[in-house]
């Protein structure tokens, strides 16, 4: 037998069977989806804003408050021990989920926004000086633009922007040109929240690294669909939010390379982030506590740990395949609606479609869809520069998650047809 060639039952090795998930079984785990909205079954297509929570996450949060609630890292009593264990186990789970080699590299924050601000205000403030450059892209969420603008304004540095092509992809040739000798950091999103573009991160990170530029990846939209491997990616920082990955709001993560987290100054001062305090001198606590001042969102972290368990149980590959089918159907069906304009035809898309219908304002569209029980987002998606790039003030956006079905896509299409009739 030739090495590597084995006979076995099932699909050939080069085409593994697409992992499947059962949307009906998944939906049954989400209590909120059982309701009707305005007399219609809820069709929730605003997942890029926040996902719904499975029973496992809701139960984990409730159980914590009912059984274990106490402050962490302080008490010698049993409840504090249990709360601390739950909180730290969540850190280990979340770290493992994104491929971190050491849970001490996992800092709990309030969310992606706080994670980016933390890096801008610590790493950024020590690395960026007058005349230096910070590089972002034209498809960033405001939370990955404004913290850098604040930093640049403070330091007299310049904010540079990697342009977006008509298709909604990043212009990688321009990236090479913009990565210059004064570039101190590149901040780039894994997935565009407004267009669904999946950026070719390995390539982008490699190009930045070739010029010695550290990279922060905004994983808020990427992690629930594609996951992430922080080590394989080569990135220096990875920021994401719990509530977009089936976890609670108010909890997020900053993963950072150990060498950076060790070198960076603390951000916020307070309890838990210190080793010792005198009025003359304070010494910082070990990682990750140096960056976790004050009582953290313990229940949120535990809920996020449960969300990570839930995601791993269903399987990221199965979720990705399912969402790919949904978004493919959506792109096709929406493309057949007269006067419907889809924004972006990226090389790779994750779970998001952005569109306009004729000259109907997206807010009017969203109100009509809401009357059909369909929740979509209408607005600038906190990505005004990207909207300006496409010459619009706002779009309507449908975004998918594991519990959405092909019937949800059909409902969206029917809702859009109804909107056409109103505004004919």
């Amino acid at each position: 037998m030739i090495a590597g060639s084995t006979t076995r039952a099932g699909p050939p090795a080069d085409r593994p069977a697409a992992p499947r998930l059962d949307p009906a079984a998944i939906r049954a785990e989400f209590p909120i989806l059982r309701q009707t909205v305005r007399g219609k079954p809820l069709v929730y297509l605003d997942n890029a804003a926040t996902t719904q929570k499975p029973r496992a996450v809701i139960d984990a949060v409730r159980r914590y408050y009912e059984e274990d609630n106490a402050n962490v890292h302080r008490g010698v009593h049993l409840l504090s021990e249990r709360a601390t264990r739950g909180y730290e186990e969540a850190r280990v789970k979340v770290g493992r989920f994104v491929g971190a080699r050491d849970p001490r590299e996992v800092v709990f924050t309030r969310g992606t926004t706080e994670s980016v601000n933390l890096v801008a205000q610590t790493f950024g403030r020590t690395r960026v000086g007058a005349g230096d450059e910070v590089l972002v892209t034209g498809m960033e969420h405001h939370s990955n633009i404004v913290p850098w603008q604040l930093l640049c304004a403070e330091k007299g540095a310049a904010l540079k922007v990697v342009p977006v092509t008509d298709a909604g992809d990043l212009d990688l040739d321009a990236l090479d040109r913009l990565l210059g000798p004064r570039t101190r950091i590149l901040a780039v999103t894994q997935v565009s929240n407004a267009l669904g573009t999946v950026n070719p991160l390995p390539e982008i990170v490699a190009r930045a690294k070739a010029k010695g530029v550290p990279v922060l990846v905004d994983g808020a939209q990427g992690v629930p669909h594609l996951g992430f491997d922080v080590l394989a990616s080569g990135a220096d920082f990875y920021a994401f939010s719990g509530h977009k990955m089936y976890g609670p709001t108010g909890i997020g993560v900053l993963w950072g390379k150990r060498e950076h987290l060790d070198a960076m100054p603390p951000w916020q001062g307070g309890g838990d982030m210190i080793l010792s305090v005198t009025f003359e001198k304070t010494t910082w606590n070990a990682l990750p506590y140096k960056y976790e001042a004050g009582t953290p969102h313990i229940a949120g972290a535990i809920g996020l740990g449960a969300a990570v368990d839930w995601l791993s149980g269903v399987g990221l590959a199965a979720i990705a395949a399912h969402e790919e089918a949904l978004v493919a159907r959506a792109v096709e069906a929406l493309g057949e609606i007269p006067e419907l304009r889809l924004f972006g035809t990226p090389r790779r898309r994750a779970a998001v479609v952005s569109f306009l219908l004729g000259d109907v304002h997206p807010h009017d569209l969203a109100t009509i869809l809401d009357r059909h029980g369909i929740a979509v987002r209408a607005g600038h998606h906190c990505a005004q520069p990207l909207m300006q790039r496409f010459g619009v003030a706002a779009t309507a956006r449908a975004s998918f998650a594991a519990y959405n079905t092909l019937e949800d896509v059909d409902a969206l299409v029917r809702g859009l047809q109804a909107a056409r009739e109103v505004f004919a």
């Binding site: 305005r38 109907v360 304002h361 997206p362 807010h363 009017d364 109100t367 009509i368 009357r371 209408a378 607005g379 600038h380 005004q384 909207m387 003030a393 706002a394 109804a418 009739e421 109103v422 505004f423």
Partner: protein
Amino acid sequence: MSSELSDLYQEVVLDHGKHPRNFGPLEGATHHAEGLNPLCGDHFTVHAKVEDGVVREARFEGSGCAISKASASVMTGIVKGKTAAEIERIFERFHRLVTEGPAEGDEEDLGKLAVFGGVHDYPTRVKCASLAWHALRAALGGAREPVSTE
């Protein structure tokens, strides 16, 4: 269209949204103000020509949803010949209409503005209906900064 939707998107509203009246620049305007809704990007500039304390003419420019455009369109028609104090009273009545719903006597007192009675069922759309009003009130009050619904 379901009855609730037709309450919001009445024929008059759809018509004014599609074919806004008093739309465009205003020559000889004495007062201007911008109104913007950062939530959805709606953005209007309202111009008014005021003589002897009376709004002789009002026009608006910009972009927005059907509700905000129709509201600006109807408003610019209704305020002609009114003083700032009269406009303030109409606005108060209008604001009550879009936040609390229709009350007795609205049809008579509010005239064409009564078509916005359906808005109160959609709290997120109240800002759309009042955007142009906020801009006009700011203009008459001598505002220098754009007014925001947030």
